[in-house]
């Protein structure tokens, strides 16, 4: 009885996804001159003379100035041609008065005023998943070495936020009472760093897992993964073609399937490298074919490089977040805290540069 009910829920979710996908398909046709008014939900990709973003399922290239950021409301005009908006003109850009977006932008500026590149970009990427803050050159290096997942918004960010908050709240609350605050914290983090597919995925999964703990119900990670995928596609059907969305689910799936088995085989690897190596090897199994097909890129040394840099990530994220938030109030102390992250970001970028031959 219970089982058949579960299946019913699953099938109806799939139906809703399909209906949503077809009903939300845009109504323009090839050659139409259109005007799009939209909020920007992820940072545009910055090139030397232009910036790129996706709006209403179209590729849009705009001149470099005025610069657009996550959270801005923009009006763009152009002609639909083969999936891109030809001759795109930025008619209007309104800065968001949203408090969280302000915080995000000020954090990134603070990193950039405190440390030079590529370190400031690396901290922005690791802490906030702000890929747009990385220089083109360094971005290319992290892609070549297969560690790009660290500097884009990924489930790892949410995992760190969650475990950090649990650690903090556990000091003066029982675990059960702490859970609502942790979930709230994760949602706040999402508002500050942007609604990139991998973050939303991890946030939904974490919420499912934590609420299950609270209600005492048993939910397998695999089921949480499938449910969050379906819920996300109902919210935003465009995600179905989002590479970050696909990679996030495939990577998480591979982790669930293979990570434990691989870790058992790595007895001789030193403890601080072990987790980095086992998780990246496990994720690679699923992710590599997708990366190879979409980017034509594959680095055989990637698991080694990952193992060498991943241990620095919790330190960078912790010092970046604390240093940034403190820095918004007392810049001098914030700077000192960020300086403490310098050896870690230096190590990270040196490894990436060294292996980028």
């Amino acid at each position: 009885m219970k089982k058949s009910k579960n299946w019913l829920v699953f099938i109806s979710l799939v139906f809703v996804v399909i209906i949503r996908y077809f009903s939300s398909a845009p109504e323009y046709q090839e050659g139409d001159k259109i005007r799009i008014t939209s909020r920007v939900y992820t940072d545009p990709v910055k090139y030397d003379t232009s910036q790129y973003l996706r709006l209403a399922g179209l590729k849009v290239y705009l001149p470099k100035f005025p610069e657009i950021y996550y959270g801005n409301k923009i009006v763009v005009e152009g002609t639909v041609r083969e999936g891109r908006l030809d001759g795109a003109i930025l008619v209007e850009v309104t800065e968001s008065d949203n408090f969280f977006l302000g915080v995000r932008q000020r954090l990134i500026s603070f990193y950039q005023e405190t440390l030079p590149e590529p370190f400031a970009g690396l901290i922005s990427g690791v802490t906030l998943g702000a890929k747009g803050a990385l220089s083109n050159d360094f971005w290319q290096k992290v892609v070549n070495t297969g560690v790009a997942h660290v500097v884009v918004a990924s489930g790892m960010n949410v995992t760190f936020v969650a475990s950090f908050l649990i650690g903090v709240f556990a000091i003066f609350l029982s675990r059960k009472k702490a859970i609502p605050f942790v979930i709230l914290g994760i949602i706040l983090y999402l508002f500050i760093s942007g609604f990139d597919a991998p973050l939303v995925r991890a946030a939904i999964m974490a919420t499912i897992a934590f609420s299950a703990q609270e209600t005492g119900r048993l939910v397998t990670a695999a089921r949480a993964l499938v449910i969050s995928a379906l819920v996300m596609l109902i919210i935003n059907p465009n995600w179905v073609t989002d590479i970050g969305f696909m990679l996030s689910f495939v990577a998480t799936g591979s982790l669930l399937l293979f990570e434990r088995k691989i870790r058992k085989k790595l007895e001789k690897v030193p403890e601080f490298l072990k987790e980095g190596l086992s998780t990246s090897l496990a994720a690679q199994i699923g992710v590599t074919p997708i990366l190879f097909v979409t980017f034509g890129q594959f680095n055989i040394l990637s698991p080694v490089i990952n193992a060498l840099v991943l241990w620095t990530v919790p330190y960078i994220m912790f010092l970046g977040a604390i240093g940034g938030l403190v820095g918004l109030v007392v810049p001098l102390i914030g700077k000192v805290i960020l300086y403490l992250s310098y050896p870690f970001v230096w190590w990270f970028s040196s490894v990436v540069t060294l292996f980028n031959f």
Binding site: D48, E113, Y342
Partner: protein, 278 residues
């Protein structure tokens, strides 16, 4: 508990020691360094003496930030002087990002209204940075520690239809060493400079206009007699550097260094001798 705390203290000390060691290797020496940053087709020239920096133009992209990162210690976030020779995108785009991130004391820039998006972005950024703005005119002198800048161009009340002609030209003096920065001046301005000023005997010239034939002239080169010529350029569709200019330099036996062939070009001087770093 005690063991725990002791472990944290040891980790923290290791961290501090590594910061100190990483810092020690970034402290600059007592010499003056001129670095023509490899920013592609454009100009960005960085001068460093101790903790004083002068950045002349910022290139066509934010690539200039990498150059600043590799030659400045990580804690030095102050640039004493920015010279924006003229508003063309291949010289001023990178300055927008530099002004956002660095604490800039003074900006030397022409008062021009060209109306391009880049020029507007730069103007906004200069305005909000709180930097002191200085408008150049011939005869003006600027001193920064032991470094002297003599401004040769443009003269007061200068008028032209071309933005390149407004390029700020200056001679940098450090001890007996002299270097001339020429922006994108064309032949007319080069000829005027050759006759109008009593300049003679510089060691270093930043060849005007990325080695275009519409830039350096024989007369200016004869007046200056440089030993080292640097051309800042990248892949381009203009045919830079033009053969006429390369021949001119070869004929006068001037050592030529190009950013498109060698990347960043660093020339060092102690105020007496000077040498290029490989």
């Amino acid at each position: 508990m005690v063991v725990f705390i002791r472990r944290y203290i040891i980790q923290f000390l290791v961290l501090l020691v590594s910061i100190i060691w990483l810092s020690v290797f970034q402290i600059s020496d007592a010499n003056l360094h001129i670095i023509a940053c490899d920013v592609g087709q454009g100009d960005a020239i960085l001068v460093i003496k101790g903790s004083t920096q002068i950045l002349t133009d910022g290139g066509p992209s934010s690539k200039v930030l990498e150059c600043l990162s590799s030659y400045l210690p990580f804690w030095d976030r102050k640039i004493e002087l920015i010279v924006s020779t003229h508003p063309d995108a291949d010289h001023s785009t990178g300055l927008v990002e530099v002004l956002k991130r660095y604490d800039v004391d003074t900006v030397l820039i022409n008062k021009l209204d060209v109306g391009t998006q880049v020029a507007k972005a730069l103007e906004n950024e200069v305005g909000s940075s709180g930097a002191r703005v200085v408008y150049p005119k011939r005869g003006m002198g600027i001193r920064l520690g032991l470094i002297y800048l003599d401004i040769l161009h443009p003269p007061e009340g200068f008028e032209s239809t071309k933005t390149n002609d407004y390029s700020i030209v200056y001679i940098l003096k450090y001890g007996d060493f002299e270097a001339i920065m020429t922006g994108d001046i064309d032949q007319d301005v080069s000829e005027q400079l050759a006759v109008n000023n009593q300049i003679q005997g510089v060691e270093y010239i930043k060849v005007p206009h990325h080695g275009s034939r519409n830039g350096l002239t024989e007369n200016l080169l004869k007046a200056l007699e440089p030993k080292i010529a640097v051309i800042s350029l990248g892949k381009n569709s203009y045919g830079h550097p033009h053969k006429e200019i390369l021949d001119m330099l070869t004929n006068q036996r001037i050592k030529l260094l190009r950013t498109d062939l060698e990347g960043d070009i660093e020339v060092v001087t102690d105020g007496d001798k000077f040498w290029a770093v490989d």
